[in-house]
C-alpha cells in the first residue's frame, strides 16, 4: 500500500493560495449558515423572531428555549420536554450500531479471506439491499416483527436497523479487508490459528479506521431515523426524532421557533459530537479502505 497521509506535493504560489483560502472560507459560510440560523434563533426570545430578522444576533440572549426544549416543552399530553426520549434513542442506537458493525466486520472478513464459490453473489445481494426504499418495507416489516413478538419493543427497533444497516457495514469492511495482506492470515493459519482467533488477533486490531467510518455512518443513520422509530415503537420506546417531530409539527398554537431550534440542535448534538470527535479519523478510515476499489 503506497498510501501516504500527507497533502499533495503540488506547489502553489502566494496569489493562488489567497484565492484558495478565500474559496474555502466562502464554503465554510455556505455550510455553516443553516447552523448559524438555528443557533442564533434558539437563543432569542420568541418576540424577537416574530419581529423579523432571522439573521440578526439576539438583542437579548436567553437560554430559556433550551431549558424548555429539554424538560418542559409539550411533546404529548405530558409536558416532559425531550429528556425522556433521549434515553430511548440511546438504548436503541448503541446496540444497533454495535451489532451491525460487528456483523459487518465478520462478513467482510469472510468475504475477503475465506472466499468460497458464489461469495461475490452473496456480497452483491447484501449490497443491493442498501437501496431498498424504507417506505416500501414498512408494512411487511411490521407483520414480521409481530410474528417474532418484537412489535413495539426496543429489541424490535434494534433488529430493524440492524437488517438495513448490514449492507453498508459489510461494504465498508469488505473493501477495507480486501487490502489487508492475505499472506498474514495464511501464515497464522499455518501456525494453527482458527477462524475466530485470526479475526480477533489479526484482523480486529487493525480495523480501527474503518470501524470509525462504519460507526459514524450507522450512528448517523439510525439516530436520525424517523420512519422506523415512529412506526415500530411503543408509547414507552419512542425515540428522540419522534419527540422532536411532535415538538416541531404541532398543528395549532403559537409556533415557538426558538424552542424548536433549541430542540433540533439538541437532537442533533450526539451525531455532531461523533463527527467532531471522530471526524479526523474519518478521512483516514475512508482513505484506508472504502474508496479504494
Amino acid at each position: 500500500m503506497a498510501t501516504n497521509a500527507t497533502a499533495t506535493v503540488v506547489r502553489t504560489g502566494a496569489g493562488a493560495r489567497f484565492v484558495i483560502y478565500t474559496l474555502l472560507g466562502l464554503f465554510c459560510i455556505y455550510y455553516l449558515l443553516p447552523l448559524y440560523v438555528m443557533v442564533v434563533n434558539s437563543l432569542k426570545p420568541l418576540s424577537e423572531i416574530q419581529s423579523g430578522g432571522m439573521m440578526a444576533l439576539p438583542k437579548e440572549w436567553t437560554v430559556a428555549p433550551w431549558a424548555s426544549a429539554w424538560s418542559t416543552a409539550q411533546i404529548g399530553v405530558a409536558a416532559t420536554g425531550l429528556k425522556p426520549y433521549f434515553l430511548n434513542s440511546i438504548l436503541m442506537v448503541v446496540p444497533a450500531v454495535a451489532i451491525s458493525t460487528v456483523l459487518g466486520a465478520l462478513n467482510g472478513y469472510v468475504l475477503t479471506k475465506w472466499r468460497f464459490r458464489g461469495d461475490t453473489i452473496v456480497f452483491g445481494l447484501l449490497l443491493f439491499g442498501c437501496f431498498i426504499p424504507f417506505q416500501m418495507v414498512l408494512i411487511p416489516m411490521a407483520r414480521m416483527l409481530g410474528l417474532m413478538g418484537l412489535a413495539g419493543t426496543v429489541p424490535g427497533l434494534v433488529f430493524v436497523h440492524l437488517v438495513y444497516g448490514i449492507g453498508f457495514s459489510t461494504l465498508y469492511f469488505r473493501n477495507y479487508y480486501q487490502q489487508f495482506p492475505t499472506e498474514l492470515v495464511r501464515a497464522a493459519q499455518i501456525d494453527g490459528a482458527g477462524f475466530f482467533t485470526i479475526f480477533l488477533r489479526i484482523m480486529l486490531p487493525s480495523s480501527g479506521p474503518i470501524a470509525v467510518v462504519c460507526i459514524i455512518w450507522q450512528f448517523t443513520n439510525i439516530w436520525n431515523d424517523f420512519l422506523f422509530g415512529a412506526s415500530f415503537s411503543d408509547f414507552d420506546s419512542q425515540p428522540m426524532t419522534v419527540a422532536l417531530n411532535n415538538l416541531v409539527q404541532s398543528s395549532t398554537g403559537v409556533k415557538e421557533y426558538n424552542v424548536h431550534f433549541a430542540g433540533a440542535i439538541m437532537a442533533a448534538l450526539p451525531t455532531l459530537l461523533v463527527y467532531i470527535v471522530a471526524g479526523r479519523y474519518f478521512v483516514r478510515g475512508l482513505m484506508a479502505g472504502s474508496v479504494k476499489g
Binding site: 404529548g76 399530553v77 416541531v248
Partner: protein
C-alpha cells in the same frame, strides 16, 4: 383484505404474552394533539381516567394533520400491537371498521343515549353497519371567514354576505395596499377554500352530488367551472409569498392587520385568542359568503381497537369520558371547535363558539350539515387527495378552469 387482517389478529393473539400489549387497566392512546392547548385539554381526559384507576399511556405522533399517525397506526395494527384508542377522522374510521378492527361500542352508546344527542351527519362516521365504533370529540366547521375588524372599519368595508360583496371588499383591501386574503399554499388549505367556494357557488345539492356522490355530471358541470373561476379570482387576491405557508402564519397576517381575510376552519380562532384578540371586537368570524345556512364539518373521533372479543372496561370508560358533557365543553372551548353532542350548554363559549353551536344545531336540523370534502368527511382519502391534486394545480396556475374541470372528472375516476 379481511383475511390478511384476521391472520394478523390471530398471530397477535398467540403472541399476546410476548408482545408488549398494554397492561390491563391502562389505555394506550395514539393521537396527534401535541400543541399546548390541545394537550392540556387531553390532560382533562387523562385525569378523569386516572380517578377511575385507569392509566394513560401516551403515544403522540404529530404531523400532516394526522397522516403521520395513520401510517404509524397501520404498522401497529399489522404487527398485531394496535393501540387501545386512536384519534381518527372521517373515512379513516369507516375504512378501519370495514377491516373489522374496531370494537363495538353499542352497549355504552345505548346506556348513555348517544343516538339522541349526536347529529345524524356525525353518526355516519361514528357508526358502521349499525354499530357505534367511535366516540366523537368535537365538530370543527370549516366554512368560516376570519377578518381583521379594525382594518375593515378603516377601509369602510361591511361584513360581506354574497360573493360579489366579497370580491368588492377584497378589491378595496388590495387597492389600499394590503393583502386581501391571507392564505397558505398547501393542498389542504387550497382545498379548504375550494370547499367553501363550491358550496357557495353550487349550493348544497351540487356539493353533495359532486363530492359525496361523486356524480361525473356534477363534477364536470358548469357550476364546477364557475367554482374554479372563482378560485382564480381569489388567487389574484393572495400575496406573492403564499406558497407553502403554514395556516397559523396566515392567521398571524390577519391578526397583525397585514391582511383582511382568512378562509379557514374554526381552529384558527385559537390563534386569535392566543394573540389576546377578542371576537367581535378585534376580529370577526362569519360564514363564507353564500354559505350562511350551511355548515361543512370535520370531526375528531376516538375509535377503539379490538383487544379481544368484547370492548374492554377501560375502553368503555374512555369512550364514556370523551362523551361526557363536561369534557366536551372543556375541550372544545380550548380547541375552538364545538361539542359533538348538541345538548351541551354554551355558557363557557365565546361569541364565535356560541354562533358555531347555533349554526351546527340549525344546519343539522335543516339538513344543511355536510362533511367537508377538504377534510376527508365527504369521500375517502384516495378521492380526496385526487381532488387536492387538481385544486392545487389549478390554484398554482398549472391548469386553466376548463382543464381543471376535465381533470377533476378524470382524477376522481382514476382514484375510485
Amino acid at each position: 383484505m379481511r383475511r390478511f387482517f384476521k391472520v394478523t389478529l390471530m398471530a397477535a393473539a398467540t403472541l399476546a404474552s410476548a408482545t408488549s400489549l398494554s397492561r390491563a387497566g391502562d389505555v394506550e392512546v395514539l393521537h396527534w394533539w401535541t400543541s399546548g392547548g390541545e394537550a392540556s385539554a387531553l390532560t382533562v381526559l387523562k385525569k378523569d381516567l386516572e380517578t377511575q384507576g385507569i392509566g394513560w399511556q401516551d403515544m403522540p405522533v404529530a404531523g400532516g394533520g394526522g397522516t403521520q399517525a395513520m401510517t404509524v397506526l397501520r404498522a401497529r395494527v399489522t404487527s398485531g400491537n394496535a393501540p387501545t384508542a386512536v384519534q381518527m377522522l372521517g373515512f379513516d374510521i369507516t375504512d378501519w371498521a370495514k377491516e373489522g378492527a374496531l370494537a363495538n361500542l353499542n352497549d355504552i352508546a345505548s346506556a348513555e343515549g348517544w343516538d339522541a344527542v349526536v347529529p345524524e351527519a356525525l353518526q355516519k362516521f361514528s357508526k358502521y353497519d349499525g354499530q357505534w365504533v367511535a366516540a366523537p370529540v368535537n365538530v370543527h366547521s370549516t366554512n368560516w371567514v376570519w377578518a381583521n375588524k379594525a382594518l375593515l372599519e378603516e377601509l369602510g368595508i361591511a361584513q360581506p354576505s354574497t360573493w360579489d360583496e366579497l370580491v368588492a371588499a377584497m378589491e378595496k383591501v388590495k387597492a389600499a395596499g394590503k393583502t386581501a386574503v391571507a392564505h397558505g399554499g398547501q393542498p389542504w388549505q387550497d382545498a379548504t377554500i375550494f370547499d367553501a367556494v363550491a358550496m357557495s357557488t353550487g349550493g348544497p345539492e351540487f356539493y353533495k352530488a359532486a363530492f359525496v356522490d361523486l356524480d361525473p355530471t356534477a363534477l364536470g358541470s358548469a357550476q364546477m367551472k364557475e367554482t374554479f373561476d372563482r378560485m382564480s379570482v381569489i388567487r389574484s387576491f393572495v400575496d406573492d409569498n403564499f406558497s407553502g405557508r403554514d395556516w397559523n402564519l396566515a392567521s398571524a397576517m390577519v391578526i397583525n392587520g397585514d391582511a383582511a381575510f382568512q378562509f379557514m376552519g374554526d381552529w384558527a380562532k385559537g390563534e386569535f385568542l392566543n394573540a389576546g384578540k377578542k371576537p367581535g371586537e378585534d376580529f370577526l368570524c362569519f360564514r363564507f359568503p353564500g354559505t350562511q345556512q350551511q355548515v361543512t364539518f370535520n370531526s375528531d373521533q376516538f375509535a377503539m381497537f379490538k383487544q379481544g372479543d368484547a370492548v374492554s372496561a377501560e375502553q368503555a370508560a374512555l369512550a364514556k369520558a370523551i362523551m361526557s358533557p363536561s369534557f366536551q365543553s372543556a375541550f372544545n372551548v380550548v380547541k375552538g371547535s364545538v361539542p359533538a353532542r348538541v345538548d351541551v350548554p354554551d355558557e363557557a363559549f365565546d361569541a364565535c363558539g356560541k354562533q358555531g353551536m347555533k349554526d351546527l344545531a340549525a344546519a343539522s336540523s335543516s339538513g344543511n350539515l355536510f362533511g367537508s370534502m377538504a377534510h376527508g368527511h365527504a369521500n375517502p382519502a384516495s378521492i380526496k387527495n385526487a381532488m387536492y391534486d387538481v385544486i392545487t394545480a389549478h390554484f398554482n396556475g398549472e391548469y386553466d378552469s376548463d382543464t381543471a374541470v376535465k381533470e377533476m372528472v378524470n382524477a376522481v375516476s382514476l382514484a375510485q
